[in-house]
């Protein structure tokens, strides 16, 4: 049975192997070059005035490759689900070849389990190797980049979990729909939906975010923007930002993530709409933007406005990677078990 499954899988395996070798060679060649450039420019920049020039130059030189390698790791699990998972059962059901298999001495369960296990392991290996290659390649860039959470789903362990889940999803959808093309399309839509939902709603909640509070620094007229990342430690993942008054209420009107309100500086003092007013702070002499800014900042201090930043610190990167991988592996096992049950009980 394993022999048969391998024979049926031969073409797809060859395609994947060629793609992996191509990626590996590309990564090896470009990676050595990147490491050389890194050592030539960034490593020695501490002896010079300005490291940002060297890091910016390196980052922009490899920006395109970084993006495309990231895209490869992002799409490989989806492609495995579409091209390996969805046709696995759907094609046999569509073309009727399952009849031949089931009338041999092999039980339906063994037939399904062998196929699921073999290709599931292969999916994990392909996605894991892709991720390993790209994680190694990008390590100098990640070192000078915007923190580990900005490339969370393109590095490390998680692509392995995504691939196993996409594959199992494809198999289950194929068993239910019983036709290859619709199964492939449905797999794609469902996988992207699950990934987006986890990214948007679940991932920020794996652990309760840390909160940083600091007196609000007024960064300009309008009070419409919190200084981004006030109190955030480097490499952290910014979850939310707000301005609170001493009573702990979020003040100001929130429009699309910005705190927008009107500030009046005049003979009545400083008025911050929806927040409060400081009647004693009246402008004197000639008005200027710097002077009004100063008045507004003093009013902000009087009202004791606090900038509240919630974030996930960078040292939670690996716990988050493990949680998300486990989440997708467990989901994949559940979906795979469903496919097995469907083949045993529901298919005729």
């Amino acid at each position: 049975m394993i022999w048969l499954a391998v024979r049926q899988f031969r073409l797809q395996a060859a395609v994947a192997l060629v793609a992996l070798v191509t990626l590996g060679v590309l990564v090896a060649v470009l990676g050595t070059q990147l490491l050389n450039d890194y050592h030539a420019t960034v490593t020695g920049c501490g002896a010079l005035a300005d490291c940002s020039a060297a890091t910016n130059a390196l980052g922009s030189r490899y920006d395109q490759w970084n993006t495309w390698f990231g895209v490869v790791v992002l799409v490989v699990p989806g492609l495995l689900g579409i091209f390996w998972g969805a046709p696995l059962l759907a094609r046999e059901l569509e073309s009727g070849t399952f009849r031949l298999a089931w009338t041999q001495s092999i039980s339906r369960s063994r037939w399904t389990l062998t196929k699921l296990g073999l290709l599931g392991l292969a999916s994990m290996a392909v996605a894991g190797l892709c991720s390993l290659f790209v994680t190694w390649w990008a390590s100098p860039l990640d070192h000078i980049g915007a923190g580990p959470f900005s490339t969370f789903d393109q590095r490390g362990l998680v692509p392995v979990g995504y691939a196993l889940f996409a594959f199992a999803l494809g198999v289950a959808v194929g068993a239910v729909i019983r036709r290859t093309l619709p199964a492939m399309a449905a797999t794609l839509v469902a996988f992207v939906g699950v990934r987006l939902a986890v990214y948007e709603w679940l991932r920020p909640r794996y652990m309760a975010p840390l909160t940083a509070r600091s007196p609000y620094r007024f960064s300009g007229p309008g009070l419409n923007q919190v200084a981004i990342g006030q109190g955030l430690r480097p490499g952290g993942w910014l979850i939310s930002q707000s301005i609170e008054n001493p009573a702990g209420h979020v003040v100001g009107q929130t429009v699309g993530g910005l705190l927008a309100t009107t500030i009046n500086v005049g003979p009545q003092g400083v008025t911050i709409a929806g927040v409060g007013s400081c009647p004693t702070l009246k402008p004197t002499g000639q008005q200027s933007i710097a002077k009004s800014n100063d008045l507004v900042q003093r009013c902000v201090n009087q009202l004791h406005l606090t900038s509240v930043t919630t974030y996930q610190p960078s040292n939670r990167y690996w716990p988050f990677q493990i949680y998300e991988t486990l989440l997708f592996v467990v989901a994949a096992l559940a979906v795979g078990a469903f496919a097995l049950w469907w083949v045993r009980r529901r298919l005729n």
């Binding site: 073409l11 395609v15 050592h39 030539a40 420019t41 490593t43 020695g44 920049c45 501490g46 002896a47 010079l48 005035a49 300005d50 490291c51 940002s52 020039a53 060297a54 910016n56 130059a57 395109q64 993006t67 495309w68 492609l79 091209f83 046709p87 094609r91 290859t180 093309l181 619709p182 492939m184 399309a185 794609l188 987006l196 948007e200 960064s219 300009g220 007229p221 309008g222 419409n224 923007q225 200084a227 480097p234 429009v255 699309g256 993530g257 910005l258 927008a260 009107t262 933007i289 800014n293």
Partner: protein, 362 residues
């Protein structure tokens, strides 16, 4: 024949239409909100006389997830059309043998192929085009802020190019299906072929549609800057020009050149700026982390030109203002060349010429 083609295409058409309607509803619901955020912040910016942080980015991070989703959608839809509409169109008939029935009717092979490809091909271009137009409308406040029409998330994803991509992907899919006669391999080949073509056009062809215009600007004034790259003991020092701020232009290259149009050699740079060499304590030490984000750096620490008795034709340093470094300064056998920054860029329209005496040619 048209009726048969339509019947065969109906499930795919329903999926495509449903997708378009969902996108249209989402964009129609969120678009006005985006415009509102833009207007509110622009008003705050104007009221503050251009001093508000809202001036830097009047749309902020509004609907960030939706922006990313929309970009990804317009990017992948042509490929999906090629895979799911193009590749199976003929391959599925050949694979299942249903073409035999079609060909034994009164319909010629040619008409069969024309009607099928014409109908679905038109639908492909229309679907991608409509999606792109909706996305272009939705992104208009963001594009007004980003001012980078040629940007990677802009050029290939706005306007009508996605319709062209989709038509090509569809044709590629149909052809792959005819050649391979099996759906799955045809789909995989279509995906690989389409992605390879898109990448080749983006990186090799698109920069050459028209020869770029060139802007020469003196290395002075607030807008002109440079960085030092390849410093330290390992590699020679060289000057890297900062890309100028040309709204909506596609800057293909920027270089520091002298009046003869040559790049200053690394020995010239090191000669003029000895403090940038190895082992010398730099005059401006900025700790990592607190460093300003790139941008224009001052050339303090560099010698104001080289010895007039020097016989090497190294460029003078730094011509920070034209008055402090007249071009007619006699320097023995070495000619004095004020450094300039040369930029090449693409733009369909005439660009506003920067005020500091620079000129646009081409």
């Amino acid at each position: 024949m048209i009726a048969v083609s339509w019947r065969q295409f109906r499930p795919q058409a329903i999926v495509g239409l449903t997708g378009l309607v969902v996108v249209a509803v989402v964009l129609a619901l969120t678009g006005p909100n985006l415009v509102h955020v833009y207007d509110v912040n622009l008003a705050a910016c104007r009221a503050s006389g251009g001093q508000s942080p809202a001036c830097n980015n009047p749309v902020g991070n509004t609907f960030h997830a939706l922006q990313v989703t929309l970009i990804a959608l317009v990017l992948v839809v042509p490929a999906l059309i090629g895979m799911f509409w193009g590749a199976p169109l003929i391959a599925h008939e050949l694979e299942t043998g249903t073409f035999r029935l079609a060909w034994t009717q009164s319909v010629s092979r040619r008409r069969w192929l024309f009607v099928k490809t014409g109908l679905v091909g038109l639908a492909s271009a229309l679907t991608a085009g409509l999606l792109s137009l909706m996305s272009t409308w939705w992104f208009s406040p963001i594009d007004k802020v980003s001012q980078s029409r040629f940007g990677p998330a802009n050029f290939g994803l706005h306007g009508f190019v996605p319709a062209g991509y989709a038509a090509f992907a569809f044709a590629l899919g149909v052809t792959a299906g005819l050649v391979f006669r099996r759906t799955l391999p045809a789909m995989a080949v279509t995906l690989v072929g389409f992605v390879a073509t898109r990448l080749a056009v983006t990186y090799w062809l698109r920069p050459h549609y028209m020869s770029p215009a060139t802007l020469n600007a003196p290395l002075s004034g607030a807008d002109v800057g440079f960085q030092i790259a390849g410093p330290g003991t390992v590699s020679p020092v060289s000057m890297v020009a900062n890309a100028p701020d040309l709204p909506n232009a596609w800057v293909s290259s920027a270089a520091v050149v002298d009046s003869a149009g040559r790049a200053p050699s690394s020995s010239a740079v090191q000669h003029a700026c000895p403090n940038l060499g190895a082992g010398v304590a730099p005059p401006l030490r900025v700790r990592e982390g607190s460093a300003p984000s790139g941008g224009t750096r001052s050339a303090s620490g560099c010698r104001r030109g080289h010895s007039s008795s020097s016989t090497t034709a190294s460029p003078p340093w730094p011509p920070s203002t034209t008055s402090s470094w007249p071009t007619s300064r006699p320097t023995g056998s070495g000619r004095s060349r004020p450094l300039r920054r040369r930029s090449s860029w693409f733009s369909p329209s005439r660009l506003p010429v920067p005020a500091c005496g620079s000129s646009a040619t081409g």
